[in-house]
């Protein structure tokens, strides 16, 4: 793990005490830059983000093509054609990012690996409650994690699941145009499980809203962490690393 | 001599599953029970559904009279929601329903009823030249040549000589009740085959306006087929010309084949004008609205009630007087099994009390059928073509009086002959002629409207459930090929809360009510009714078939 040295910084004349922004500056007054996210993960994150936005927009057109109506001559505008094309192309991108991210769950660093992304350790569940209280403004110290805190873990677990269901239901719908084909046969279990292809369509439609609701909360929490907690999460998903209090003990720092 | 117990089950050449039980003494029927042995529960299934979907569900009550439940359902929902459909949609519905009548009646006559009167085996002995002479004497139909009838006969001979009689196996051939000479039998057999091809052709009118047959599509608020003379995918001139040609071919066949055959055959069976009359109360709710469903004065077939065969008075019809009884039926009512319920309070709660299958007899049981017993003001009613023609005749309807008088004149019988098995079968043919002629009027009105620029086929103002009242109810009437039909719907919070159908065959095949009054089938079978050989119950078939039973309709 690399840590880049920084030139000494003047301490801002800030009061110390119990504020929500108590980490500004860190109590120890020392910064440390921690590298968290490898390039492939960052690349996949933004590709996935773009794909999800594209899927949601085109998906809604597919679901309710009211907002653009074609011109007089058919084959001329090809609106639905393009929407579906973008939808399926974005779906391909999303699947690609999922594959890479899935591989990175095994091959990535300890912050990127399986255990860091899903709340699988008992301690995560204890800390999750503390984190929740922090968000409810009932707790001044959130549990200190370098990587994902347990709430993030849970929400990403959830969002991974939702994305997986979207992909699976999406492919089940997609496969219908070639019933004898690999996709349709491979995903035949989906309508069987859901109770018919219309239920699959319904699930695909409803879960889009879950994804959409995720976006503002996700971005807010990222921004909040950056501005209030000064944890540099936003920059971390761009540059790969974040500043942290050099003295702080991080729960996940010693993870294997 | 003790009464012989007779069972005919299945009654074939009908829609559905009907069992007739009877007692015969000295070549006569002394008692009879009609039992419908199928139940599907569609009224229960309708609960909680979107009222706009209802037509499609209830359409599947019957695939033989495939149009009628769908239209009655649309009318009921439209009545509940206060929707008035555009005149074009009404005309298109008339055309579709009109063609349904024509096709259904012709199929009934040739394919379901004819073998009761026509001896197929006897046709093998006919002289085709004689058949040709007979046919020419009654009709200008082009297929009247000796060669034509010879070819039909050869085909039949080849068929029979293969030794595989198929659907003709075990028919009652040679029974003394068959009265037609071989030449007339051959003519009927030829038209049996011709009608098969004809019906397939003319029914395409349904496909043009409704996309398919059986079970063409309808729409609450109008019809889904848009009219646009400038588009290939809509009702345009090409489609309309096809429709017009079908209407013409339908009329030609009805006037030149069905009607002449009917008159010719009836001439040999005049004794049946005194047999099987039964119930003398008749009900017609009216059909073919020509100026909107609520303009009862402009129904092509007027509505009304005739009591005790008294043609001097036509009573006004009020749907509030319809009640259904289950005294003899396998159901239960919360308020006890002897009360009658108006359909707005109607209940469909199956409760089988018959013997475990297999059984031998139902006669003598208190409850013996899945058919409910509708009564109008407490009285059993006979419905169907005869009821329609009688109400129209008694109301002074010009077309009906014309054709009824003409037919009576041809057969040399008086109006009393109508109250019989033969009367029912004849009335069916007469009204088919009237409808086949009237189709052109509806078609021309449609063309006039389109010409004047009105192409509207759908009223969409009340399409969205947000425009509906929290609760409402509606009644859709329609006189179907087999008689008076009603659908009653109640809607709560956008969903169907109650759906009840009282169907022509429910009226006709109804069992005894709490006063022991028989339903029309039963009453007809005990009205001066012969049964020469209980092993060959051809007489029972004649009378039952004259009603054109539809059990899937009646019980639903």
């Amino acid at each position: 793990m690399s840590a880049t040295p920084l030139p000494p910084q003047p301490a801002p004349p800030r009061p110390r005490g119990f504020t929500l922004g108590h980490r500004i500056p860190p109590p120890s007054g020392e910064y440390r830059w921690v590298y968290l996210w490898d390039a492939p993960l960052r690349a996949m994150h933004w590709l996935a983000a773009i794909a999800i936005v594209a899927l949601a927009v085109t998906g809604f057109y597919i679901g309710k093509p009211y907002f653009i109506t074609g011109g007089a001559e058919s084959a001329d505008p090809f609106v639905m054609g393009w929407m579906r094309f973008i939808h399926f192309a974005s779906a391909a991108v999303l699947v690609m990012t999922a594959i890479v991210r899935g591989y990175w769950l095994l091959a990535g660093n300890k912050f990127e690996r399986f255990a860091a992304l899903f709340p699988v350790r008992p301690r995560d569940w204890v800390n999750m409650w503390k984190q929740a209280k922090f968000y409810m403004l009932m707790e001044r110290h959130p549990p200190a994690y370098l990587g994902h805190n347990p709430m993030q873990q849970l929400s990403y677990t959830g969002i991974y699941l939702v994305a997986a269901v979207m992909v699976v239901t999406g492919f089940a719908l997609y496969g219908q145009s070639n019933p004898g084909g690999l996709i349709n046969r491979g995903f035949a279990w989906v309508p069987a499980l859901a109770g018919g292809i219309q239920m699959v369509r319904f699930i695909h439609h409803v879960l889009t809203w879950v994804l959409i609701i995720f976006i503002p909360m996700h971005i807010y929490l990222a921004m909040r962490a950056d501005t209030l907690e000064r944890t540099g999460v936003i920059s971390s998903i761009i540059t790969g690393g974040r500043f942290v209090d050099a003295k702080e003990k991080f729960i996940d720092a010693e993870d294997a | 001599m003790a009464a012989t117990k007779v069972v005919v089950d299945p009654i074939t050449r009908i829609e559905g599953h009907l069992r007739i039980e009877a007692q015969a003494e000295n070549g006569r029927i002394s008692n009879a029970w009609a039992s419908s042995t199928q139940f599907r529960g569609i009224e229960i299934i309708m609960q909680g559904r979107d009222p706009r979907d209802a037509w499609a569900f209830v359409q599947r009550i019957c695939g033989v009279c495939t149009v009628v439940h769908a239209v009655a359902s649309c009318r009921a929902v439209e009545d509940a929601l206060g929707i008035t459909i555009p005149p074009n949609a009404n005309l298109i519905r008339n055309l579709v329903h009109g063609m349904q009548f024509i096709q259904d009646h012709v199929i009934h006559f040739y394919h379901l009823h004819a073998l009761d009167w026509v001896d197929v085996v006897s046709a093998l002995k006919a002289d085709p030249a004689g058949t040709s002479r007979l046919a020419r004497s009654i009709s200008p139909w082009p297929n009247n040549s000796e060669t034509y009838f010879k070819a039909v006969q050869d085909r039949l001979k080849k068929f029979v000589s293969g030794g595989q009689l198929g659907i003709f196996t075990n028919g009652y051939w040679g029974h003394p009740a068959y009265k037609l000479p071989p030449e007339a039998n051959l003519m009927a057999v030829a038209h049996y085959l011709e009608a098969l091809d004809w019906q397939r052709d003319v029914i395409r009118l349904h496909t043009i306006f409704g996309g398919k047959n059986p079970h063409p599509n309808f729409l609450v608020g109008g019809m889904a087929c848009a009219i646009n003379l400038e588009d290939t995918g809509t009702i345009n001139a090409e489609r309309l010309v096809d429709v017009q040609a079908m209407i013409r071919r339908a009329r030609d066949f009805v006037e030149q084949v069905y009607y002449p055959d009917l008159m010719a055959i009836a001439g040999f069976y005049k004794d049946w004008a005194a047999i099987g009359g039964g119930t003398k109360n008749f009900l017609c709710v009216g059909e073919f609205p020509e100026a909107g469903v609520n303009d009862f004065g402009k129904l092509y077939f007027p509505r009304g009630v005739i009591l005790n065969g008294d043609l001097s008075t036509v009573h006004e019809y009020d749907h509030k007087l319809v009640k259904e009884y289950i005294t003899s039926s396998w159901y239960e009512y919360p308020g006890g099994d002897d009360v009658g319920l108006h359909p707005y309070e109607g209940e469909t709660k199956a409760k089988y009390t018959g013997p475990p299958a297999p059984w031998e007899y139902l006669q003598g049981l208190d409850k013996y059928t899945w058919m409910k017993a509708p009564r109008y003001d407490g009285k059993p009613m006979q419905v169907g073509p005869l009821g329609r023609m009688l109400v129209a005749y008694a109301s002074g309807h010009d077309d009906a009086q014309g054709i009824v008088n003409e037919a009576l004149g041809r057969l040399g019988v008086g109006p009393a002959a109508l109250f019989s098995t033969l009367g029912r079968t004849a009335a069916r043919g007469l009204e088919t002629v009237l409808i086949a002629r009237r189709m052109e009027t509806w078609f021309n009105s449609l063309i006039e409207r389109v010409k004047s620029g009105d192409t509207k086929t759908f009223a969409g103002e009340k399409w969205e459930p947000s425009t509906w009242p929290a609760s409402c109810e509606g009644y859709g009437y329609l006189d179907a090929p087999r008689g008076a039909l009603g659908h009653w719907v109640q809607i709560k919070d956008g969903k169907i809360s109650r759906y009840q159908c009282v169907v022509p065959s429910t009226w006709n095949c109804s069992p005894r009510d709490k006063q022991g009054q028989m339903g029309p089938y039963e009453a007809a079978l005990v009205d001066n009714h012969p049964l020469v050989n209980p092993e060959q119950p051809i007489e029972i078939l004649r009378t039952i078939h004259s009603f054109d039973p539809c059990m899937a309709c009646g019980v639903h």
Binding site: P8, S177 | D9, G211, W370
Partner: protein, 382 residues
Amino acid sequence: MSFAAPSWFPATESVEDELARRGVSRREFMEYCSSLCIVLGVGKSEAPRMAAAILADRRPSVIWIQLQECTGCVESVIRTSEPSIGTLVLDQISLDFSHTLMAAAGHAAESAAAAAMAAEKGKYLLVVTGSIPLADDGIYLTIGGRTAKVILEEAAEGAAAIIALGACAHWGSVQAARPNPTGAVGVSEVIKNRPVVNIAGCPPIADVVTATVAHFLTFGRLPAVDGDGRPLFAYGARIHDQCPKRANFDAGQFVEKFDDEGARKGWCLYEVGCKGPATFSPCPIFQWNSHTDWPIGAGHPCIGCTERGFWDTMTPFYGRLPDVGGFGIESKVDILGAALAIGATAGVVAHAAATSVHQMRERKRSLPVVDPTSGGPGTPKA
């Protein structure tokens, strides 16, 4: 389309063998032939020739039983275009039992069926329309005092193959719609030991039925089927992928309300609930009633009538999505979704505001305890 008798048909079998296998004595058979000759007016002496002809040129036997149904499927088959129903029944098959067309009734009809089943045992094609109500010991449909299940099992026993014709025989259709008061099921729920092909549709297109019969008679076996037992030649592709309005779909040209501009241009019915995207059927290709038109062609959305369970899964017919728990109608789901999304955004904003208020308060409160010596310049660690 022409039907040759299948190769296994006993044309080469000797008359004696054939009769022995059928359990008919030669004497009985010759008496039958003699009486037939008399009926035909050709004289008894022709009986041996007739006997040979009868045994050499038999049409394949088809037995058609009708259970819990609306008879729409029978009506549909009667509309078959090629071959016509007359040709089919008189020249190509021997329809040995049909409730709708049979001349005989009651015992006479039932014994005709029983005789055909015995004589053609193991060889006849059984056609079934209608479902089998299994609830309450099957008393919701009896014929001749016997339940549908018993009748079906008996008829299936000697059948070479079974055609389950129409949605009722396929899976129960309308009477099997929620709450299925009679416990209606399709043929393959009852008969497990015979080949069953499902001709889907409520009703199916007649030509699909006759083509399936032709396939059986010509090739001696049932056609290849999909996962739901439907012949691939008819149900192998989705309506949406064969629909002439697909160009309008791709172009974004939709009927938004019935009889609107789009409807008058024959545009795509997707927005008014067309189930073509979820339905496998040859309707756009075969079309209905001698290729006259088809539901979508005549302006009404497909209701998905060839799909198992369509009365529950494809409703509401005029909505694109199912009505799950009274909440599936698109607008409701979308209103809720949008409300939650807006709510989430608003919540996020409110939370941010609350945080800053809280923070300001905290800061004010904590001012007096400031330790000015802390917070010196830190040295980042390597």
